[in-house]
Amino acid sequence: MTPLAVYISISGVSPLVTNLAILVLAGFVGYAVISKVPNTLHTPLMSGTNAIHGIVVLGGLVLLATGADLDTGSKIILFVALVFGAINVVGGFVVTDRMLEMFKPKKDKPKDDGDAKGGDA
């Protein structure tokens, strides 16, 4: 097995438990981060998290890349999954970016501090 897995198994903990620990901690992080977001930014937030769950594209990637002897059916399924995942990721980030640009302080505002490259409209 891989070095990391060997290390884990020496400690007597299975990968499942490690992954569950990661899962639980990520849940708390998600909770903590989101509690601070003002109502005003809820749409971009939802859209941003929506882009992040596009991480599922990795699932299609891994299975296609490691699957040396997939049958045609599985290939088609994974191909569609990959396309779906890619639409989710790419579309999600682009649309969120568009929305958030609008919330940036605009050029015509004199008190635009530092980060002034935005507002191309």
């Binding site: 859209s47 994974l78 999600g92």
Partner: protein, 471 residues
């Protein structure tokens, strides 16, 4: 050999994934303020690129053509859709992106099933998580597509329900899905069982969203978003992919909280939204309430509204879904500019569930270059209404309905609202006297302080602006 070198090893992958999800978390925390938000989103996107490249690097590469073409098609479809979509159509766009994400998770699980001949020789826990991601992913895919159809008005936005049969049918479909799932976990099954699981979960998703009315859509989209996140996290455990676990779970957790916050803002439980309340079977409610609206409605003209506002000190704009429908946000901004030129202070009072998505109004107003500081959240706005001279309600209805405060029999009783009737005078822009999405009457319209300006919101606002310029 190459497989043992650092760049292609598991440790490298693990470390790069840690970098990737740190960027997700750091990026998301940037979304807490308007100034850091754009950068935050881009940082998260960089994390995503790192995760994808790492995944490609560490795995033996088969099916290169399919991978490249698949990613390209995704980008070719996703980017123009995201760039061209109108801000008013944002809720359905998010629903659609969410749906394809859920669909991807379900398909990945299906492929795993096929690849291992029904999870032969697969550890049970992996099967459990994989089957869970198939179930939830399929619900999310079909549910989101229905939500998209409703918001895009391909399907009626009104609740569609099977009546008394709704609950039993939904329960049966749900049980079929669970039975398929249990069978697959128990022992290897024929592929037809997996397909049965995906289809029954899909039907369940359709039945889940169909009976939900337009007003409850923000909650539903947010809930489905959380579903896809949880499904992605489960798929991550099944594939032992830490980037998927972290990213999926963050979305699952944050989506759940967001859903809850929204439900609280409407004074409803998530369960009651799903079962379909006033956004749901509205007929009875509407029939009961129409009789109550017996008062007289005063209608007014654009010129009169312009005069009232021109001599006000503080004008508060209360936008709702109607503003989105008629795309009036730019016209509203022009009106505000005209008022500000006359020394009138203009603010915007935003109800947390105005529109079809949380923060929907903020996005539209930001598109029209309304300064962020002028957007007031509900509590601030409510403390300002008593010193407001004119509150102008543009296409909002239920979120201003005083019945929510006064009438214990009203279906929206207890929902926090914008107390526009505290201001000295109220102007309501409305297409006609029809009721809001909730299908209930609004006594605000017959309040002696209220004047109605009928017509398309965008045209009405434009008329007011031109009258303002002539004053």
């Amino acid at each position: 050999m190459i497989a043992n070198s650092f760049i292609f090893g598991a440790n490298f992958k693990a470390i790069m994934y840690i970098v990737a999800f740190s960027l997700f978390i750091y990026g998301l925390s940037g979304l807490t303020g308007p100034k850091t938000a754009v950068r935050g989103n881009r940082i998260a996107a960089v994390g995503m690129v790192i995760a994808v490249i790492t995944t490609v690097l560490v795995n033996p590469i088969n099916n290169v053509g399919l991978i490249v073409v698949g990613l390209l098609i995704g980008a070719i479809v996703g980017v123009p859709a995201a760039r061209r979509v109108k801000m008013t159509a944002m809720p359905q766009m998010v629903a659609l992106f969410n749906g394809v994400g859920g669909g991807a998770v379900a398909l990945v699980s299906w492929a795993e099933f096929r690849d291992s001949a029904g999870f032969h020789f697969t550890p049970t826990y992996i099967v459990i998580f994989s089957v869970f991601s198939a179930l939830v992913g399929s619900v999310s895919f079909w549910g989101s597509n229905i939500a998209f159809g409703k918001l895009q008005e391909l399907i009626s936005g009104k609740p569609i329900s099977l009546g008394k049969l709704q609950l039993p049918i939904q329960a049966i479909v749900g049980l079929i899905a669970l039975a398929c799932a249990t069978a697959i976990v128990a022992e290897p099954q024929d592929e037809i069982v997996m397909i049965g699981l995906l289809v029954s979960a899909g039907v369940f998703g359709v039945l889940l969203v169909l009976p939900i009315g337009g007003a409850d859509m923000p909650v539903v989209i947010s809930l489905l978003n959380a579903f896809t996140g949880l499904a992605a996290a489960a798929a991550g455990i099944a594939l032992e992919n830490q980037a998927m676990i972290v990213a999926g779970m963050i979305v699952g957790a944050s989506g759940t909280i967001l859903t809850q916050q929204m439900a609280i803002a409407m004074n409803r439980t998530i369960t009651s939204v799903i079962v379909g309340g006033f956004g749901g079977g509205g007929e009875v409610v509407a029939a009961g309430a129409t009789g109550a609206g017996g008062g007289t409605v005063r209608s007014t003209s654009a010129a009169d509204v312009a005069i009232q506002m021109a001599f006000a000190r503080l004008v508060v704009v209360v936008p709702g879904y109607g503003m989105a429908v008629s795309q009036a946000q730019h016209a509203v901004r022009e009106m505000a500019k005209a008022l500000e030129a006359k020394g009138v202070e203009v603010q915007y009072a935003i109800h947390p569930v105005a529109g079809r998505m949380p923060g929907h109004m903020n996005v539209l107003l930001a598109e029209a270059d309304v300064p962020y500081e002028q957007l007031k959240e509900m509590d601030d706005a409510n403390s300002d209404f008593p010193r407001t001279d004119v509150a102008i309600v543009i296409g909002a209805n239920d979120v201003t309905n005083p019945d929510a405060r006064n009438d214990p029999n009203s279906p929206i009783y207890g929902m926090p609202i914008l107390n526009v009737d505290d201001s000295a005078s109220v102007i309501v822009l409305k297409r006609s006297m029809s009721s809001g999405y909730a299908g209930i009457d609004n006594p605000l319209f017959v309040n002696p302080k209220t004047q109605m300006l009928f017509g398309d919101a965008k045209a009405s606002v434009a008329n007011i602006t031109s009258e303002l310029h002539e004053l």
